[in-house]
């Protein structure tokens, strides 16, 4: 399934996560799709875009009613061999954070690289 365009990041599935934890189920359901694809042996890239970058802020807790949040799921990504985590550089700047401060190791990408990412993956799912 790999295509050899040599653009650095490629794979079967690009999952674009554009929402933060707790507020909606988009992030959780997007991550679930990524985990299932990885469990089926697919190569998955996660792109945290816009508000989605807040998923990687350290120190998250469960919600006041016991809502689970998504940080425990994120901590499992490595176990599923999902190790390509990208964050939109501009969104990171909005939060005043640097990539090194995030809870997981992630690579900042510029907006101009986003179009490349969509074409170097077989399937793109936006959440």
């Amino acid at each position: 399934m790999a295509n050899a365009k040599g653009q650095g990041f490629e794979g079967d599935l690009l999952v674009v996560l554009r929402h933060g934890p707790h507020g909606t189920s988009w992030l959780r359901e997007g991550l679930d799709a990524a985990l299932v694809a990885a469990a089926f042996g697919r190569r998955v890239t996660l792109l945290f875009m816009g508000e989605g970058v807040t998923a990687l802020v350290p120190g998250q807790k469960s919600g006041p009613l016991g809502q689970k949040g998504t940080s425990p799921t994120l901590e499992m990504l490595e176990m599923y061999d999902i190790d390509t985590l990208l964050v939109e550089a501009e969104a990171l700047a909005w939060l005043g954070l640097r990539a090194e401060e995030l809870m997981l190791s992630a690579t900042a990408v510029e907006a101009t690289e986003l179009s490349m990412l969509a074409s170097t993956h077989s399937l793109v799912l936006t959440f």
């Binding site: 816009g50 939109e88 907006a111 179009s115 077989s122 793109v124 936006t126």
Partner: protein, 96 residues
């Protein structure tokens, strides 16, 4: 060439910026549902630079009474044209 599909109005949602950021130089953008508001008046300005690559779903323009206001450079396509656009693109990416 990818087809990006946007269903949000640029008057109320910033999602169009994500679509634009993710678009390559040959990619096309199809406005559907409330997204067709982006084909009208000053909102059309959000998509400047996409001439010839900007499409709007005809039925959604008509249902909203916006067809007469649609900017002339926007290519209007019916649902069959929508399918054709997906045929011509390598893949589609939806922004909502």
């Amino acid at each position: 060439m990818l087809l990006h599909i946007l269903n949000r109005s640029p008057a109320t949602s910033e999602v169009f910026r994500q679509a634009l950021a993710a678009m390559g130089p040959d990619d096309r953008l199809l406005l559907i549902e409330d997204g067709v508001q982006g084909a009208v008046g000053a909102l059309f300005g959000r998509f400047s630079g996409l001439e010839g690559r900007l499409y709007a779903q005809e039925e959604d323009l008509v249902a909203r009474g916006l067809a007469p206001l649609c900017a002339p450079s926007v290519v209007r396509v019916d649902v069959e044209g929508f399918v054709t656009l997906t045929e011509e693109a390598q893949k589609t990416v939806s922004w909502f």
